[in-house]
Symmetry: C2
């Protein structure tokens, strides 16, 4: 445990170079067109194939490597899992963008906007296969690798189930907060919980300990999503890289919206805006945001985020970890929630 990093920036700094190196190997270069699409999505190239530096925060693979270190293993133990989870995250982004018709993410064109929907579907599928390959072709005990793949695969199923619900919510009249939270637990929580469990399993940890670490990650994921939804309406686009009007313009039923639907006044304003054809206009968006604030949705989202973070803390205390490790994981949770968006 002597080598365990002591702060989140230290974690990310130590992980970044070996992770990017391993990820590039995991993407490979064949078939050429699909590998090029993957390099664009992973942020290493721009749309003309020129070198770029648009990598995301790589939170999920960092959690996988951290899971191994917390379990007393090494970064090397968990690297195939870290690559797999980041590739799966990118596969899900590519398919979500096709499904949601989002033309831009973090100020870059989305893949389907560049290649068309059909090839973007292919590129997402390709990223999924490269994730599987990262674990199937790795050295080390095949039983551990298969266990980690099983955890990842169940998380992908939960994620796809959540995405199904999310799309279904868009065409429904009303969604309850509980339904929303179940959807989010799948769509976002699963792929934040899984890497911790995978990392621990790849390091040879007991199944129960690995699952406990994953349960902590799931609560942190819910806190992250509550905060992310908050920022989707009240965040600064300059900080988050995402529009703060797109969720409402696209009639998304986010946490603020489903919370507001339980308030009679806000529900009426939301219904008026969402019942029109096409996107919600700028003036109606302003009215919806104002009604949500009057209903206390902004405060409620922040309180929910804090509540999940508190539950995560309680789970963490039950894992029997040394105080230094607990402090680090608490800092990781705070870092994730504060950086949502």
């Amino acid at each position: 445990m002597a080598s365990l990093p002591t702060s989140v920036p230290d974690v990310l700094a130590r992980y970044r170079e070996p992770l990017e190196h391993a990820l590039r190997a995991a993407v490979g270069d064949d078939p050429p067109a699909l590998a090029a699409a993957a390099r664009y999505v992973l942020g290493w190239e721009d749309e003309h194939g020129r070198p770029a530096h648009n990598m995301g925060k790589r939170i999920r693979p960092a959690l996988c490597l951290l899971g191994a270190e917390v379990a007393g293993g090494t970064i090397e133990d968990a690297m195939p899992g870290a690559c797999a989870v980041e590739l799966v995250h990118n596969f899900s982004l590519v398919h979500d963008e096709v499904q949601d018709h989002d033309a831009e993410r973090h100020h870059r064109p989305t893949l389907w906007a560049l290649l068309g929907e059909a090839q973007a579907i292919n590129a997402g599928d390709f990223l999924f296969t490269r994730a599987v390959q990262a674990l199937s072709d790795a050295p080390g005990d095949p039983g551990r690798r298969m266990a980690a793949l099983g955890v990842l695969n169940r998380a992908i199923q939960a994620m796809i189930g959540g995405q199904w619900e999310d799309l279904d919510f868009e065409r429904r009249e009303s969604v309850h907060v509980e339904e929303y939270l179940a959807m989010v637990a799948g769509k976002t929580g699963a792929l934040l919980a899984a890497p911790l469990e995978m990392g621990a399993l790849l390091a040879g940890a007991e199944v129960a300990f690995a699952a406990g670490l994953g349960a902590w990650g799931k609560q942190v994921g819910l806190a992250f999503q509550a905060q992310d939804d908050y920022l989707g309406t009240w965040g600064d686009p300059g900080d988050t890289g995402k529009s703060n009007s797109n969720d409402i313009a696209r009639k998304k039923k986010t946490l603020p919206i489903v919370y507001g639907m339980d308030d009679a006044d806000a529900r009426a304003v939301i219904a008026e805006a969402y019942d029109t054809g096409g996107d919600v206009g700028a003036a109606a968006i302003v009215r919806v945001v104002s009604a949500l604030e009057d209903a206390g949705a902004d405060v409620a989202c922040r309180e929910m985020a804090a509540g999940y973070a508190h539950e995560a803390d309680a789970l963490l205390d039950g894992l029997g970890l040394p105080e230094g490790t607990r402090t680090l994981l608490r800092e990781v949770a705070r870092y994730l929630v504060d950086r949502a968006g």
Copy 2:
């Protein structure tokens, strides 16, 4: 080897019931909406969720079970691989239908035509995860299961690469026969070769023997595709369940078309038909088919199918199998090619 089936109908009859049973377990029932979509795609239910009997020929899983038996193992050894390969085949059909905008397959609405493109993408992704799970959650040696998954996963990559090329060909002026055959080897051949290799590996066969069996399957797959392309233009829709004008109407560059492009007269007729906006009309389709026949494309396709089948025979002879097994596999090849479509 006493239990090895002696004819192809015998093979399929013996495999069908345990295979369908295992496939239903592999699909599961959660998340409910995705599992229901999977049951429709697998042919067990109609679009209203009522019991149906629209299963495909289940050729790929039969090849996996046969691969195990040929290698001296049992159906049980290979069943997780058989389920995985059939689920992957269905995943690829669902995504291909979205990409090609095909509204019907075998006289049934395609999934996206029922659920929309976004949810069909999700359902395809779900089928992929269930394929991985069939192998990750199975009993038996994890090393063998991981090796089989590695073979399957590489086949999926080849398949996706082939699908990329196929879509790319649609927007290109001309495609050479060699490029076309490379595309087909990925898009179709890979998922006919892989199950044989997977079945042998799951039964504990030597890697070289399993790969040899897969190489035989690849040639059979090419013969199958040449025949399938022939039937796509000259087949009887009553037999094949598919339109024999859709390939040309959609301006697909099939084997007959790429062959015809090497003939000056046929090329001119194809160019005239394919250079118009929208689908190719009925009269132009008749002119294209006639020009292809004048160029000898129909005969050439059948000869290519026979040539690949012959190459498959030569590979088979090198595997050192008993004469009875060789006879059965030769019959399997003939059965596949004759039943293409």
